[in-house]
């Protein structure tokens, strides 16, 4: 695949992620912080987000399996996930956390379990989208091109 085609594909793909609210302007802010001296900044931050989110999803699963659920603890985890998704611009994950926190406040187990499923879904969706985006970027770089802004 030629370089120009790859670049066009990346721009279209990236645009679609914003359009579908997988990403928001905070992700753009991250990209603006990347430069020649810190060429992997975005990938590094997003990788931290992946690790941290998966840890939190595991914690949430465990916490909601307990006989006596500690909703404060559940809420604390969701709060963290909401914060980190906001920090990288993963808007749909962030928004799904908001509903989750409401159910925590109500101490509604069913609501929480449903939300956990939704958050997990949104997380894995954005993860696969971002991985695809990074893969396209790599292909462009390997072909000797630069990533279009």
């Amino acid at each position: 695949m030629d370089l120009v085609k790859l670049q066009r594909q990346l721009v279209d793909y990236r645009d679609s992620l914003y359009h579908e609210c997988f990403l928001d302007e905070q992700f753009t802010q991250l990209q603006e912080l990347q430069d020649e001296n810190n060429p992997d900044f975005v990938v590094e931050v997003v990788s931290l987000f992946f690790e941290d989110s998966e840890r939190l999803l595991n914690e949430l699963t465990k916490a909601l399996e307990q006989q006596s659920i500690d909703f404060k603890r559940v809420d604390a985890h969701v709060h963290q996930l909401k914060g980190s998704s906001s920090s990288i611009g993963a808007q749909r994950v962030q928004k799904s956390c908001i509903a989750f926190r409401n159910y925590c406040e109500e101490q509604n187990v069913e609501g929480c379990l449903t939300c956990l499923q939704l958050v997990r879904q949104e997380y894995y969706l954005v993860k696969s989208k971002l991985e695809a985006l990074f893969k396209l970027e790599q292909q462009i770089l390997s072909a000797g091109g630069s990533i279009p802004i």
């Binding site: 905070q26 802010q29 991250l30 603006e32 912080l33 810190n38 900044f41 590094e44 931050v45 931290l48 987000f49 941290d52 604390a76 709060h79 963290q80 909401k82 914060g83 980190s84 906001s86 920090s87 990288i88």
Partner: protein
């Protein structure tokens, strides 16, 4: 690139989120500040040389904390997350402002939640600014005037009588501290961000009343 003076400013960033630590570090470095990041209020106090009732431990697993752990490491500003387990950003702010050796260090609070009562509480306790997360580069432009105030006096722990010791910072700072504070219309501030009420304090005096 930038003023040489900027890299003389050392900011201590406190946040329990590893993602946010990475982000604030990059933002601060992009603004040409030296940065140290720690993941808790207690580690922040250790770094600042305040031991209180903490054990004298140095966490080897946090490479960004200075292993020297002595009071000579000059910190020109502390920027801290509000919501942290254990010691909150507010608790940390209080401890800094209650310490005779640290109270002149400007403190900025960050929070993902826009809670007006929280914001005013922090400002009343002596925080210089309150940033809503995610923090932007434009937010960090507000930091320099606060740090210039601390640079304008000799970094001397014995200086306790602030009222007579310091000249008006107007000469040093680019803007008067009251003017640059929380102008809602500056720099494309997003409409959801609450601009906190200005904290009443006499013009030109850097320390809290």
């Amino acid at each position: 690139m930038g003023m040489a003076a900027d890299s003389e400013f050392h900011v201590l960033a406190v946040d329990d989120s590893i993602i946010d630590r990475k982000l604030i570090e990059r933002l601060l470095k992009t603004s040409s500040y030296q940065v140290t990041t720690v993941d808790s209020g207690s580690k922040a106090l250790e770094f600042l040389g305040l031991h209180e009732d903490l054990h004298d431990r140095i966490d080897q697993n946090t490479p960004s904390v200075s292993p020297n752990n002595h009071q000579e490491v000059e910190v020109n500003l502390v920027i801290t997350d509000y919501c942290m387990p254990g010691m909150t950003g507010y608790d940390l702010l209080k401890k800094i402002k209650e310490s005779s050796s640290l109270k002149n260090i400007p403190v900025v609070i960050m929070s993902s939640e826009n809670v007006p009562s929280r914001i005013s509480r922090c400002l009343e306790e002596g925080a210089e600014e309150f940033f809503l997360k995610p923090v932007r580069l434009s937010d960090l432009n507000k930091l320099r005037p606060h740090m210039l105030k601390t640079k304008s006096k000799d970094h001397c722990k014995e200086q306790v009588d602030e009222k007579t010791a310091f000249p008006s910072p107007k000469q040093e700072g680019k803007e008067e501290s009251n003017n640059n504070k929380r102008k809602a219309t500056e720099e494309g501030v997003s409409p959801e961000r609450t601009r906190p009420r200005p904290r009443p304090r006499p013009n030109g005096i850097t320390t809290m009343v």
